[in-house]
Symmetry: C2
Subunit: 396 residues, 2 copies
């Protein structure tokens, strides 16, 4: 990966592509001196596309953003952290609308060209005086060096900013994401904002985004909980005047989303290990994915990994109750390359393996269902006591 | 509940009904001086029925028990703890068969009249010399006072024995169960063994058992993980000569299973609180059940409860991604009687409620989907750091 952001020390993530500015300010939604409002601005109106959570309690800002994106155009994205503005009914939708209007007014752009996102606690109304004050401050601070500040301002329980940028043939892509818990994006994803100075037709942009999201963000899970606020938005402002080859753009976008998704998993709440679950020879691709997620979401499997225990029986139990087709006598299983179970039974040297197999920070689980052609990979974390601590005390 | 076992201090659980003996011995599968092999014996051949896990990696002893139960008759149940004899292939089935044969030989009964159960670590072969030694010892120790010892011998991470007994009109029912983690019985249940001295036709016994299990054991969850070894077995030996009314028997059996199920949840791994999730007005009964389980299995909801936080937004998020039909604007939610969300939005006094709502050891979540007639209740625990500790270090 070509980390374009590193070339220019001051520009990173979403402000690496030409013609984008950003800012992250502290408006007081969160306690203390923490940035909690981000703004990304394109000097020119940009082609845009987005994917949204499939959670039926889709948050107000997502409803508004979908409405604003009907014409495939955007010029700014505003995102607050500390409050999800979800399950807030008509008043929540009104608040999201006001955020877009404040941004549009301060920047002198159309309010339909503003996407709105929120992340944080569900079920509380936004403190709108703080939010509008923050928007005015963010507009004043917009700069090509503001990517890092914006990336900070969208975080909640995250312990690090999540930025990636890539160079294409004459254009760049930049992105930032947040996410640490309530991570199980499904037909959608976590909050991520992507920019490019390429000139891309809206249909192409949409197609490339959906494909990239489906094999990256949609394949990670921290706790099996799908958020009300997941969204990925991409803006292509065409400032480079380059119309990229769709194949190259698709590959780069998938690489960028994959990098951001991996950073999210590595920063999963309380995570001490990074786990890849690969399922092969399932009856179908959907079943491979489902089986891999069943393993990746099993608290018993995850707790065993936290303890450094290659407890393959728990993996078998998770597969067997996942609902996917399988024949126990055809299932084989490897952890970090060691064949622990062969065709449903312990490998003959399994006791020996178990003793020597010390699990490091990276764990690869390979399940061979021995049935069909279906294959899928899912990335997840272990389950630590810290995850429980964080989520027992996050809100208060 | 009439705790028949308390009337006669020496008889408890499965040995409360007339004509049953039991024993629990220490045969060395587990380390230390812990009982790990239980035997339940009926002096007369008994009518019998069972339900089994739906996990496709159904353990060897369950396969054998199903085979032996084809004629609806049993006279003994043998159960070891410390090793699940699951994912052990042909050798595992052979070991289960040998357990039944050893019991049959030592008791002078048909081997097809012996049910076999195992619980513990998945994926290891049984130490058969220890097991056969234990069987001989258990046969020698069988007594009407052996219920308690047997109830001890089937435990794994449980912290207490789980016994219940009830009196019907001229007959008794007794039962014991184990279970603390990997608890999400589905169309099946945890290990539970039930006895009665009533005289009951096999068809009736089966019908009553399936109905009782479905609204009790199948409605509890600790961690959403469905075991490979779940099984409930009932034996009716007819020693009382009473042929009970099917309605009464069904009610008593449901009460007994409900009591055992509640004891399992209260002894859930690391549990500090007992949570009931009640979903009403779902589109169907199945959807009510599914929605209730989605809430009960959400690690975010459970961790919030552990922290004493009535974080209703996480409950909404769990409902919204559960796959059941709902309209956000029609969903209302109470915790311990306090209306926190009304028709998808925060109740007007919600901030006030949140401050005063301190969650005690018993939590009642009531979700009203406002759609149809579907209603279901699920019982679960909170998610504590102790759950992670137990499962990170259980095997080793």
């Amino acid at each position: 990966m070509n980390e374009a952001g590193k070339v220019d020390g001051m520009r990173s993530g979403v402000t690496v592509p030409e013609g984008f500015k950003a800012a992250g300010v502290c408006c007081g939604i969160k306690e203390g001196e923490t940035r909690d409002l981000a703004l990304v601005y394109s000097e020119q109106e940009a082609g845009a596309a987005a994917t949204y959570t499939t959670n039926l309690f889709r948050a107000a800002p997502l409803q508004l953003t979908e409405e604003h994106l009907r014409d495939g155009r955007l010029q700014a994205i505003v995102c607050n952290s500390g409050n999800a503005n979800a399950c807030t009914g008509a008043r929540g939708l009104e608040d999201a609308r006001r955020m877009a209007e404040e941004v549009a007014q301060a920047l002198g752009i159309r309010r339909e060209d503003v996407a709105v996102a929120s992340t944080g606690v569900i079920g509380h109304y936004l403190p709108m005086d703080k939010v509008t004050g923050g928007i005015r401050e963010a507009v004043a601070q917009l700069s090509p060096q503001g990517g890092k500040g914006a990336a900070e301002a969208i975080l909640t329980t995250d312990t690090r900013t999540k930025e990636v940028s890539l160079k294409g043939s004459g254009y760049s892509l930049g992105g930032m994401a947040k996410g640490s818990g309530m991570i199980a994006p499904r037909m959608a994803t976590m909050l991520a904002f992507i920019t490019t100075d390429a000139r891309v037709e809206t249909q192409v942009l949409r197609r490339c985004l959906v494909e990239a999201v489906d094999c990256t963000f949609n394949q990670i899970t921290v706790d099996g909980c799908t958020s009300t606020n997941d969204m990925v938005v991409i803006m292509a402002n065409g400032v480079s005047s380059v119309e990229p080859d769709e194949g190259e753009l698709g590959r780069l976008l998938t690489e960028l989303c994959g990098e951001l998704a991996a950073i999210i998993v590595r920063d999963g709440e309380g995570a001490t290990r990074f786990v890849e679950v690969k399922v092969t020879r399932a009856a179908s691709w959907e079943e491979a994915r489902y089986a891999a997620k069943a393993v990746a979401n099993s608290p018993l499997v995850k707790a065993a990994f936290f303890g450094g225990d290659p407890n393959w029986g728990r993996i078998m139990a998770a597969l067997g109750s996942s609902g996917v087709r399988l024949i126990p006598e055809q299932v084989s299983l490897k952890i970090n390359g060691a064949l622990l179970a062969e065709r449903g039974s312990p490998h003959e040297d399994v006791e020996e393996f178990m003793d020597v197999l010390s699990l490091g920070k990276e764990i690869l689980v390979e399940v061979d269902l021995g049935l069909g052609e279906g294959e899928a990979r899912v990335w997840t974390t272990d389950l630590s006591e810290e995850y429980v601590r964080i989520n027992a005390h996050y809100r208060t």
